[in-house]
Each structure stands twice: as C-alpha cells, then as structure tokens.
C-alpha cells in the first residue's frame, strides 16, 4: 500500500512537470496528490485500528525500511487530512492568484507532490541514511516552493535564510546519525541498530548527541532562539505552501524528536527539561512578537512559533516526568497525549487560517492589515470560517483549541511532586496561560483588522470559488467536532502513546483518566462534551432567545455609523493595524524590539588581508567596547558588585 502512495506522488510530480499543457498538468498533479493523500488517510486509519505495516525496499546496506507503527499512523492520519484539503485548495489558488506572478505552474506542480511525499517519508522511514535523504528532499522542495515569487528581493532573501537554517538542521542531524552509525558493529543505519549503538556510548557523549539532536529538531520546528527564519519564510511563500509549512512541516520534526528520545535515546531528565524550557521561551516570544505585527501572515507565523511552544512544553514535561521515575508513567503519558492532541488541532486550525489569508490575498492582492479591512461584507463565507479559526486559535470552549490547551494545563498542574522539577512545569503552565491571553489579543486584531471596519483597498467582486471554500469548511467542521468530542480524538491518540511508554496500555490510560476523577485532581475530558452540550443546547438558545423573542414591531433601522456628527472620508477612519496596541508595545519595548533588520546577504571575497587582519581588528574593537563598563556612575559599580554578591551566594548554595 505504501508503495502505491509514493508512486502516486511521483506520478503526480512527473505528469505535472512534463505534460504539454501547463494548466492541465498542474490540475492533474493536484488531483493525483489528492488521491494519494486520501489513500494515506485510509492506510493510516487501518494501521491505527489493526496492525502496523512494515515494508522493506531495496537490499543490502541501503535497505529502505518503511514502517507505519502507531505513532507514524497517527501523524500520517493528520498529514493525510491536511494534505487532502491543501491539494484541493492549491488547485484553484495557484491558478487564480499566481499565474502571472511566478515561475509558473510547472514548478509548483513538480514540487508540491514531492514535498508532500518527502514529509510522509520522513515519518515512515526507519533508517538514518534514508532519513537524511528524505529530510534534504523536504528542505529542497519546500525551498523551491517558498521562493515561488522569485522575482521579489524579499522573497529570495527569506528563501535563502530558510534554506540555510534547514541545512544547519540537516548538518546536525547528519552528525548525530553518522556518530551513532559509526558505533554499530556491522555497519547499519537502521533505527534499531542506532538504538543499541546509543546505549553503548559514553554517557557524556550520549548526552551531547541528544542535545544536538534536540537543537536540530528545534531549528526545524521554529523554537526560540533559532526561530528567526520562520517569520520570514512562511509569509513569503504562497498561502497553500504556508499552510503546509506551518501546519505540517514543523510537526515532522516533533515526530522525530518524540520517536528518537523515547526509542533510540533513553529518556533523560535533562533533555526533557531542555525541551520544556525551549517550549516556554517559544510561547512567550512567539505570542509577544505576534502582537505588534501588521502583516497578517507574519502574525500567523509568530503564532505558529507560540503554539509549537505549547507542544514542546507538553512533550518536554511528559518526557521529564517519565525519565524521573517509571512510577509516574501515567502522568507522563497523559501529558504526551495532550501534546499530540494540540499538535493535531494546531495543524487543523493553523492551515485553516493560512488558507483564509490566501482567500484574502486572492481578492485584495495585499497582506498589509494597515490597509485591509471591511472584508466581512464582501466575503461572508470566508469571514465565517476565519471566525471559527480564530476562536479555535484562542481556545474557547466548543472549539478544539480549548480542549487540547485545557488538557495541557490541567495535566501540567496536576503533575506529581518531583522536587524542583514540578515548579518548572507549574511555571511553564502559568506562562502558557499568559500566552493564551496574548493569543486572544492578536487573534482579535487579526480578525478585526481584516474583516471588520473600513477598508482602503479595492476588493474584487464576489467571494472565492467553492473549490476553495469547501475544503476550508471541512477543516472548520473538524475543529468544532474535535472541540465538542475530544474523547474521540483522544481514544485515537492513546494508542501511539501506549507504544511509546511501555508501562501503560490504552486501557490503563482511559481508566487512569477516570480514576483520577475520583481524586478530584485530573478531570476526565469526557465531561467537556457535556459542558459544550450544555452551552450549545441550553445557554446559547436562552441568550439568543432573549435577543429575538422580544421582537419590536418596528423593523431594524440601518443608519450610518455615528462619528460625532461629522462626515469623514472613508479612508480617514480606518485604524491602522500597526498601532492598534501601541500603548502595550511602549510598555514592553524594553524587552523586545520588533523591527526586522534588513537582510543583507554578503558575498565575501577571498582576500588574505581580510582573513588575516580583520579578526584582530574586530577583537580590538570588541575590547574597546568593553571599556564602556567604566561608566562614571557609582550606582553601576554598586550594582555590579551586588550582582557578583548574588552569584557568589548562589554558587555557595549550589556547589
């Protein structure tokens, strides 16, 4: 089955690239990718219910082992759903919006199926050699797709930065894989042999390898501090590619992280803590930086960084708890399940939101929220879908964002006592709650600046075509369904988690969730369904009933908005997005500056002078800067001594 999927993707790419008619080649390519994705979805659901699939292609040292075990099946299911929808979306979107703008449909038709196939391959391969191959293929095809509008300077620069960071991650990955493979006695790249090689390594070297691997996956996921490529690359790409990048590609590295740290490396507290801390930083920085943006796709890109932080927080906390003691396996598995649930939900609503911005770009040709506005009337269906996406992003009850975030918070707060590590998890949960508030702030900005208010752009007539809106509607329905019935998704997620953590079975997880109910500590997620039903069935009708039951004999009157009795020009009364939260930005401006520095790509000329002399010049300049510490003020000296005092005391306590 798996070969058929890959064959279909390859066929789609070839047909799209080499067919005589550009338009039809692109359409065939998208339709074939659609079929391949549906097949992937079907195969993964079968694998989740039944038994895993194993496949070995080629022989010898470059054997290509593909395996769809439970974890890969879950990820493939999520990928399959999003790929299906994005393929259908790309068909119309690239045709309508981009034919005059880029290198054309052929390149897109060639690279899109390869991109999708490589992402699936990263999930399915079980050999280090083929992992690197699939990873590089993924980076290359996504780079080509990101620089679709290669005639623009900023798009090219963004693509170059993205390519460089992808390769940095690949380099670290190569180092890890080669180091491990060099310790296998018959040389083999299979994951099973890498796993035994890891166990035979010196503990310090092993820890270094694990940290390098985490950093590599962090680069690709876009966690802080190596996230700076993400807000440049995701907006530069066409919206369907942004949806794939934000929704799916950052998740492949999370799959590898989870798989490697549980099955190949042995679980360690330090790695779990590192993942947890990086997650916390990503939440804060991602959500803080999203607030002042005026480009809607940059806002969503920073939002991706923030939500990847949530997933890393949950996974890191789970790994840390599991590594601390096998007794706490139940808590650890609940946290990992929460992380995977949020991964799935984030894939859904983030792809949805990027596709919505694609709709907006189709109609208005701009991404700048300073001049967008008032599209709710011109594009009613899109604005409705956008509202669902926004409410899921914020995480309000009924929508899926709430279910997964709630599970992360509750299981995080209820984690067992483990000396200082519990405080770290609680701190993470508190900061994640604050990140939730910031998410609400920028989501409201996103929706209001685009869909309500006044507009300064010309809007093409009519809403976008149904080929585009129907897939988005499917994702929106999925968001609501998984929000009201989180138990359905969780029963699927418990299966791969029980394979990762051998002490726990699916039955134990389901029972554990109910058991802790009686301890009044972790509530089950089933009651969330009853809450949502009460809300929907009882209170919303009551509230709307109050509104509409007392119908007034006179009809509703529609007037011009009241602006103090003055007549304003329509363009004067649009509130620009870049200054919407100016007071708050002024308050937090000491903590961060949000101006993108202009990107300079330098081509160093080989010149002996530069190579031999300039380092010393730089060193001298640096030492010259150090003399800045001699400020004339006594206070600074006292402050420095004070900080040294604290450091000495802390070292005394710790050492």
């Amino acid at each position: 089955m798996l070969e058929i999927i890959f064959a279909l993707f390859t066929l789609a790419a070839l047909l799209g690239a080499f067919s005589p008619s550009k338009r039809w080649g692109h359409r065939i390519s998208c339709m074939l990718s659609l079929f391949a994705s549906l097949l992937l979805l079907d195969v993964s659901i079968q694998a989740l219910e039944g038994s895993p699939i194993t496949l070995k292609l080629l022989q010898g040292i470059i054997v290509l082992p593909l395996e769809m075990d439970m974890l890969s099946a879950f990820f493939s299911m999520v990928f399959g759903i999003v790929f299906t929808i994005v393929s259908l979306y790309s068909l119309k979107y690239i045709e309508e919006g981009y034919t005059d703008r880029g290198s054309g449909l052929r390149i897109h038709a060639l690279c899109l199926p390869i991109f999708m196939a490589s992402m699936v391959a990263v999930i399915l391969v079980r050999s280090g050699f083929w992992l690197i191959f699939a990873w590089e293929l993924m980076s290359l095809s996504s780079f080509i797709l990101v620089v679709y509008e290669h005639k623009r300077q900023d798009v090219r620069n963004a693509g170059l930065i993205y390519f460089a960071m992808s390769h940095a991650a690949a380099a670290l990955l190569i180092v890890v894989v080669l180091t491990l493979a060099s310790h296998t006695s018959p040389l083999s790249f299979l994951y099973s042999s890498l796993s035994s090689a890891y166990k035979s390594l010196d503990p310090h070297v092993a820890m270094c390898l694990a940290i390098l691997f985490t950093i590599a996956m962090g680069i690709k996921s876009g966690v802080v501090p190596l996230h700076f490529w993400l807000p440049r690359a995701h907006p530069a790409a066409p919206s369907n590619i942004s949806a794939l990048l934000s929704g799916i590609m950052v998740k492949t590295s999370i799959f590898l992280l989870l798989y490697f740290t549980t099955k190949i490396f042995y679980p360690a507290i330090e790695i779990g803590a590192l993942i947890l801390v990086l997650g916390i930083l990503s939440i804060l920085i991602g959500c803080l930086y999203a607030v002042p943006q005026n480009d809607c796709k940059v806002l969503l890109a920073y939002s991706t960084i923030g939500h990847i932080g949530y997933i890393w927080l949950a996974l890191g906390a789970g790994l840390m708890i599991y590594a601390y003691s096998g007794q706490f396996a139940l808590y650890a598995s609940l946290l990992i399940s929460a992380g995977l649930f949020h991964l799935m939900n984030h894939a859904f609503f983030k792809s949805l939101l990027f596709m919505v911005t694609g709709n907006v770009i189709l109609k208005t040709e701009t991404r700048d929220m300073d001049i967008l506005g008032g599209l709710g009337k011109a594009m009613p269906f899109t604005s409705f879908i956008a509202m669902i996406g926004i409410l899921s992003l914020i995480g309000l009850p009924i929508f899926n964002g709430f279910a997964s975030k709630w599970m992360i918070y509750v299981t995080g707060i209820s984690s067992p006592a483990m000396d200082h590590l519990t405080m770290l998890i609680h701190l993470g949960v508190a900061l994640a709650l604050f990140g939730g508030t910031l998410t609400a702030i920028y989501s409201i900005k996103f929706y209001s600046e685009i869909f309500t208010g006044q507009s300064r752009v010309k809007v093409a007539k009519g809403d976008v075509s149904p080929i585009i809106t129907v897939p988005e509607a499917v994702l929106a329905i999925a968001c609501i369904v998984f929000g009201i019935f989180p138990g359905a998704a969780l029963s699927v997620i418990f299966k791969p988690v029980s394979t990762l953590i051998p002490e726990i079975s699916v039955y134990t997880l389901a029972e554990g969730v109910k058991f802790y109910l009686s301890l009044l500590v972790i509530p089950s997620t089933m009651p969330l369904t009853s809450v949502c039903f009460t809300l929907l069935a009882v209170f919303i009708p009551i509230a709307f009933g109050i509104l509409y039951a007392l119908a007034h004999p006179l009809k509703t009157r529609v007037e011009a908005p009241w602006l103090g009795g003055y007549k304003f020009d329509i363009h004067e009364i649009k509130f620009p997005a870049s200054s919407l939260y100016a007071g708050f930005e002024k308050l937090v401006s000491p903590l961060y500056r949000v101006k993108f520095p202009t990107v300079k790509v330098r081509y160093p000329e080989p010149n002996a002078d530069k190579v031999l002399v300039s380092p010393w010049v730089k060193l001298g300049a640096f030492l010259g800067e150090v003399k800045r510490i001699q400020v004339g003020r006594v206070q600074v000296y006292v402050g420095v001594l004070f900080i040294l005092l604290i450091i000495v005391l802390v070292a005394r306590v710790l050492g």
Partner: protein
C-alpha cells in the same frame, strides 16, 4: 500557646509585599507609608519573639525599634518630603516592566538563598524569616542603585536596615541590649544626615536627582 513560627511566618510574608511597594511606588509619601507598615510588622515580629519564645530583652528591643523605625525615621522622611515639596520622583533609568521582573527575580532568589544557606538557626520557623530578610536586603540595594531620587534612596537605606535587623534578630538571639541600641541610633543618625544632604542637593541643583550631582564636582 501558639507556636512562634505560625505567628512569624505570615508577618514575614506581608513584609515581602511591603518591600515591593516601597521600591516600586512613585509617590514618595506612599513609599514612606509602606515603610511605616513594614517597620510595624518588624516590631510585631520582635514582640512575638519576646512573648512566645520567651526572650525578655526583646521587649526592650521592640520598644526601641518602634520608637526609631515607626516614629522618628518616618517622621523625618515625611517632614523632609513636605519641606522640599517632593511629590513624585522622576522616572528612573530602568523601564517599569524590567523593574518589575528584576523585583520578582530578586525576591525569589533572596528567598531561596535565605532558606538554603547553611546558617546556625535555632528555631524551625526562622528559615522563612532568613529568606525574607535576604529578600528585603536585595530589594533595598536594588532600590538604592536603580533609583535616582535622593529621598527614595534614603527610604531604601532604611529598608536595608530592616532586613539586617531581621537577620540579626533571627541569628543573634542573646546579644546584649547595648548592641541593639547602638545599631538603632546609627540608623537614625545616618538617616538624618542623608536627609539633610537631600535638602542641600535640592537647594543647590534644584532637583533631587542624583545624576545632576555630578555637576557638583567642579
């Protein structure tokens, strides 16, 4: 009888709150009032030590602390504020959000250090008091270095003294009363001199910011 630590611990917790208010509030009079509240809490700690873990000479200590810290020093400070008509201090160099983060970090670090440094502490509840005294000390030093108004620095000096006295009370139970009186009079004298200097600064340079004092060099 109530155990000593059940009485002291909540009082020490409130002292952390007042520490934060002293450093952060902009209006100098409110800072001074918070200082009065903090000194009252300190005096009540001394009184409870005197009553509950019977140490009679703490009575004398608490009375002298009351007179100096709650009556004399705040009166001097508020009198100077009224005389100089100094309502609010200028914006310090540290922006407010960074200042808040530094405050919280100092309170947490100070507390942690105080509770875990290996020091000869007799009663069990006193570990929290050690933590609080470290926090007060750190907050006071931060207030002195981070703020530019001379009167605010004076208040923070008194704040440091509060922390040191708390540490003294916890560690050195049985010190004779003369030591205590010496320390307290030193506080009053130092504060009086600093306040007089503040008045002079205001008269010469026209403002209370110590950054302008550098022009006094020439």
């Amino acid at each position: 009888m109530v155990a000593l630590e059940h009485v002291i611990t909540p009082i020490a917790a409130c002292m952390i709150l007042t520490a934060f208010l002293i450093v952060e509030l902009r209006r100098l009079k409110y800072s001074a009032y918070s200082y009065i509240v903090q000194s009252t809490l300190l005096v009540s700690i001394f009184l409870s030590i005197a009553v509950l873990a019977p140490e009679p000479h703490f009575y004398a200590w608490s009375i002298s602390a009351f007179i100096t810290k709650v009556v004399i020093v705040p009166w001097l400070i508020i009198h100077t504020i009224n005389k100089l008509k100094a309502e609010e201090e200028e914006e310090p160099m540290v922006p407010p959000i960074l200042s808040i983060l530094i405050d919280i970090a100092l309170i947490a670090i100070g507390f942690w250090l105080g509770s875990t440094l290996p020091l000869p502490i007799t009663e069990p509840g006193f570990k929290i008091c050690m933590g609080v005294s470290f926090s007060l000390f750190f907050m006071g030093i931060y207030g002195m270095t981070g703020r530019s108004c001379a009167i605010k620095q004076t208040i923070c000096l008194c704040h440091i003294e509060n922390g040191i006295h708390l540490m003294l009370a916890v560690l050195a139970y049985a010190s004779p009363v003369t030591v205590d009186i010496g320390i307290l009079t030193d506080a009053v004298v130092a504060i009086a001199i600093m306040l007089y200097l503040s008045t002079l600064i205001k008269k010469v340079t026209g403002s209370l910011s110590i950054y302008r004092m550098s022009s006094l060099r020439w």
